[in-house]
C-alpha cells in the first residue's frame, strides 16, 4: 500500500525536492504552499493553503481525508527565515516568522493528528535548525521560532504517543536552498566551520534522516531532534 505523505511548503526549495524524492519512491504525495504548485505528477496533489490560517488548513485536511481516507506522514517543512540584528528587526517580521514556523506547524499537527488517530498510526517530522543550539548572532527570531518547534516536538510526541503517532525533528545546517540566499558567504563559511563535519548539507542528508523517522519500523523513535553535520545541543 502506498504511503500518503503530506508535505508543507512544496512550491520550491527543500519542500519541492522532498516531493520529487518521495514521488520517486512511489508514495502518494500531497503538498501545499501559499502559491500554486510547481510539480505535475499523477501521484501529486497540490493545495494553495496558508498553513497559518486555521480555517484554510481545516478545509484542506478535511478534503484530503475525503479523497485519501488517511494521512500516514506529515512533514512540516514550510518555514521562513530572516537574518537581522534584533535592534533592527521590525515586529512585523517576528510575527511573520512565528506565523509560519510556529503557528503553522501547530495548526498542521493538530488537524492532521485528528486524521491519524483514526488509524492509530502516524509519523510527523518537524524542521528545526542548527541556529538554535548554536545561538547564532543575527538569527534571534528564526532560532527562537525553531526553539519553540523543538519544545513542541517533544511535548506533542508525548501527547500523541498513545495514538501510535511519533513526532521527531531534523535540524539541518546550511543547505543550498532559497532559505539561505540572503545569508552572506562569510557567515555561511564560519557556520560550516562550527560543524563537526565542515561542508554544506545536501538533500540526501535530509532525506536520510527523514526516511529513518518515518520508517514503519521506527515506532520506538519519537521526541528526537537530530542535527546534521555533528552539531550538538
Amino acid at each position: 500500500m502506498n504511503r500518503i505523505i503530506l508535505i508543507t511548503g512544496t512550491r520550491k526549495g527543500l519542500g519541492k525536492e522532498l516531493v520529487e524524492y518521495y514521488l520517486h519512491k512511489n508514495d502518494e504525495v500531497i503538498g501545499c504552499s501559499r502559491g500554486e504548485g510547481s510539480i505535475t505528477h499523477d501521484n501529486y496533489s497540490h493545495y494553495m493553503t496558508d498553513i497559518s490560517d486555521e480555517k484554510e488548513v481545516t478545509k484542506m485536511v478535511r478534503d484530503i481525508k475525503k479523497k485519501y481516507k488517511r494521512i500516514d506522514i506529515l512533514i512540516n517543512n514550510a518555514g521562513v527565515a530572516s537574518m537581522n540584528s534584533i535592534l533592527l528587526t521590525p515586529v512585523s517580521t517576528v510575527k511573520k516568522i512565528f506565523d509560519t514556523n510556529v503557528f503553522g506547524t501547530f495548526i498542521m499537527t493538530r488537524e492532521v493528528s485528528k486524521v491519524m488517530i483514526h488509524h492509530s498510526y502516524g509519523r510527523i517530522v518537524n524542521f528545526t535548525t542548527v541556529a538554535t543550539p548554536l545561538n547564532l548572532e543575527g538569527e534571534a527570531i528564526y532560532a527562537s521560532s525553531k526553539s519553540a518547534i523543538e519544545s513542541f516536538t517533544k511535548v506533542s510526541a508525548r501527547e500523541l504517543s498513545s495514538y501510535g503517532i511519533t513526532v521527531n525533528a531534523i535540524g539541518p545546517g546550511p543547505i543550498k536552498t532559497d532559505l539561505i540566499k540572503g545569508v552572506p558567504q562569510d557567515k555561511l563559511d564560519s557556520l560550516i566551520q562550527t560543524q563537526v563535519i565542515n561542508r554544506f548539507g545536501t538533500i540526501e542528508d535530509v532525506t536520510n534522516v527523514i526516511d529513518f523517522f518515518i520508517d514503519e519500523k521506527s515506532d520506538f523513535i519519537t521526541s528526537q531532534i537530530v542535527y546534521l553535520g555533528g552539531v550538538c545541543n
Binding site: 486555521e54 481545516t58 478545509k59 478535511r62 481525508k65 485528528k114 486524521v115 488517530i117 495514538y163
Partner: protein
C-alpha cells in the same frame, strides 16, 4: 430535526461507539446528563481527543459547517464544555450558530 437535538444525537452516537470499544456502559447509554470529562467523567484525555475529532467531522457531514472544537477552558473542571453531553451540545450549537452570523 432541530440543530440542538441533532447535535445531541451525534454526541451520544460517538460516545456509544467509544463506550462499546471500552466496555463503558455509561457511554453506551449516554444521555444529556452523562458526565464526559472531568470529575466522574467517562472519558480519559485520549478518548476526549477522539470524541472531538469525530464530532468535528460529523458536524461537517451533517451541517456542512467547519467548526474547530478547541477551547481555552477545555481542561478546566469548572467551565469546560466537555463536562457533560448537555454542555458539549450547547457549546457545539453555539459554534455552529457563530458561523451563520
Amino acid at each position: 430535526m432541530a440543530i440542538q437535538e441533532k447535535v445531541q444525537e451525534i454526541i451520544c452516537e460517538i460516545a456509544k461507539e467509544i463506550g462499546e470499544e471500552q466496555g463503558n456502559r455509561d457511554l453506551i447509554n449516554a444521555k444529556l446528563d452523562t458526565p464526559l470529562y472531568g470529575v466522574q467523567g467517562c472519558l480519559d484525555s485520549i478518548s476526549l481527543v477522539r470524541l472531538t475529532a469525530d464530532l468535528e467531522e460529523e458536524v461537517f457531514n451533517n451541517f456542512n459547517k467547519e467548526i474547530i472544537i478547541a477551547d481555552e477552558s477545555a481542561l478546566s473542571q469548572k467551565f469546560s464544555p466537555f463536562q457533560s453531553v448537555a454542555s458539549l451540545t450547547d457549546y457545539v450549537v453555539k459554534l455552529i450558530n457563530e458561523i451563520d452570523e
